[in-house]
Subunit: 341 residues, 2 copies
């Protein structure tokens, strides 16, 4: 058996741990009931016990390369500490990586969860076989990750890929980051909820109002279902979502010119409702996209002989839904463990 | 003497050619009077003659590595042909690189002029010693180039760094690219002229109107001079310029997290007029910038012992004017010639 590593997803409501072979085969996945709210020590103890048990189980079959931990927050790659994490209170001044490394006696890599998801999709998901790809994760907010030549592009201090804070409406809705009109104010689950509340408050959305007061689980998904059923206010809301997501993607394409942009996260399942407007914006706002969109490649614009079968020129910019769902970050975390910095 | 290469700037009104040592020392610079308007053959003949003469002159002292040619337009890197160039009509279906290589009997690399300028600034200018930097060139339009680990990031097909077409005002001024509210509609020489014309037409700018009708060379520079003299409409115009340039830079920082962003091109000399508003936007719109701005580093926000002297965390995002002026592209073209793909 080939070598294997262990990926941890510390982001969700549950703690998930997976052993993955270096060939990308899932060996085993464990979901622990321990909650972040139970405190740092308990989480770390249970996590380490599970990693140890998994690594011991597969060690006889292949070399254990280490563990990667996907964390929702800003990570100081060099010191292995969390700089900021809204979801992990009390972890900021704690030497996470050292503590875990010490207990495991194996190398540990911390990675931002959106970066891990981007690497997971590039390794085994929608962008498999594509060296350069970015993933936009549409969740409560918007996360992002850029993979160049098969490796996460961290930037100067691990803060690359903050797609959620690209300005899409200069005088738009205020954002928690201190800016205004950030992408995540228009194309995330919380943006969908805010826009729905606004439409309800304005008396513009009777069906949304009804669902909101009768459905205890009223959320982005309920609004998507109303849009699918043809409710105009719900459709308009996802139209706005697609408009701004299209602007964000156009910006990314014009700046990065990557081969593929993967759209993941929970709200990406509303693809049918937002994608038509998103693609319309892309065709209008990105020459690079328009020139390389599937079915409209540059080859058709110039004598094809001149192109000499050059795949770079024939290359198409692909925008596609993610494939791995919430496992993307788990696989990506396992992948980063393969080559600790 | 070390090896040397030759850089060519085919973009401006003159054809400029420089021999540069691999250590970055300018050996000789030639400016030819031949104009692009005199036609492809004459330009190529005179360019090749000059490259030959320069390379022969220095060959005895060091190895000639080849020639790099900076071209304003979209280049097919693989075939060495121009795909699109507004400034070089008639060059599109002409095998530029092969023709020149054939005459010189040496390797030739074509490069987009904004990419060459970015590499020049990174090699020998404002970003010297900085591995990861982008250059925004504020000229008639906006050009851009990204250098990662000392190499130009081309993207899938050479179209990375199209910063001029990042959306900064979704329903803004139409752009030649087919989009609306592109950065170059607000932060370029032609944008300055358009905004001045609009202010004059609205009767809002008497001094601009006067200068525009009396000064035969009325242009962005005259408007900058009026702003310096305290003319409110001219100041407002550069305020708008700085506002939108700040949005563009915030987007680039949030996406790329590079160490440095260099502002070059002719209009960058109006720095004093646009920079204050540009920095105000950056502080507001980019958490990454705000957290890493000079004088306001992350070190001050967290216990410094925890940072352990980690230079990545202590890293600051630098926004700075270019240093090489119009020579940036010339040096960058020489640099790309050193390692043909």
């Amino acid at each position: 058996m080939p070598a294997f590593s262990i990926g941890v997803d510390l982001g969700g409501t549950n703690l998930r741990i997976a052993a993955v072979s270096s060939e990308g085969k899932l060996l085993e996945k464990i979901t622990l009931g321990v909650k972040v709210i139970q405190g740092r020590d308990q989480v770390v103890n249970e996590m380490c016990a599970a990693i140890k048990s998994l690594s011991a189980k597969y060690k006889s079959e292949g070399e254990f390369l280490g563990a990667g931990i996907g964390i929702p927050g800003i990570i100081d790659m060099a010191s292995g500490m969390l700089r900021k994490s809204a979801n992990l209170p009390g972890w900021e001044d704690y030497p996470v990586r050292n503590e875990i490394e010490h207990r495991l006696e194996a190398p540990v890599v911390l990675e931002n969860d959106a970066n891990a998801a981007a690497l997971g999709e590039q390794w085994l998901g929608a962008a498999r076989g594509i060296a350069n790809a970015a993933t936009v994760t549409l969740g409560t907010g918007i996360g992002g990750g850029i993979v160049l030549s098969g490796k996460i592009w961290h930037g100067m201090n691990g803060m690359a890929g903050e797609f959620g804070h690209v300005t899409v409406e200069p005088e738009g809705h205020p954002c928690g980051c201190g800016g205004r009109g950030c992408a995540e104010q228009y194309a995330s689950a919380s943006a969908v909820m805010r826009m729905a509340r606004e439409a309800i408050a304005n008396g513009e959305a009777p069906e949304l109002a009804k669902a909101s007061s009768s459905d205890p689980e009223f959320g982005a998904k309920s609004i998507y279902n109303l849009a699918l059923q043809g409710d105009e206010p719900a459709r308009r809301l996802f139209h706005t979502f697609g408009h701004y997501l299209g602007i964000l993607l156009s910006d990314l394409i014009n700046v990065l010119n990557l081969d593929m942009y993967v759209i993941g996260g929970g709200v990406s399942s509303a693809w049918d409702a937002f994608a038509p407007k998103m693609f319309a914006e892309l065709r209008e706002r990105s020459l690079v996209y328009a020139a390389t969109a599937p079915g409209d490649s540059l080859v058709g614009r110039t004598p094809s002989a001149a192109m000499g079968g050059n795949s770079a020129v024939a290359g198409k910019t692909i925008i596609t839904p993610a494939l791995l769902g919430s496992d993307a970050g788990l696989y990506g975390a396992a992948k980063v463990a393969e080559s600790p910095a």
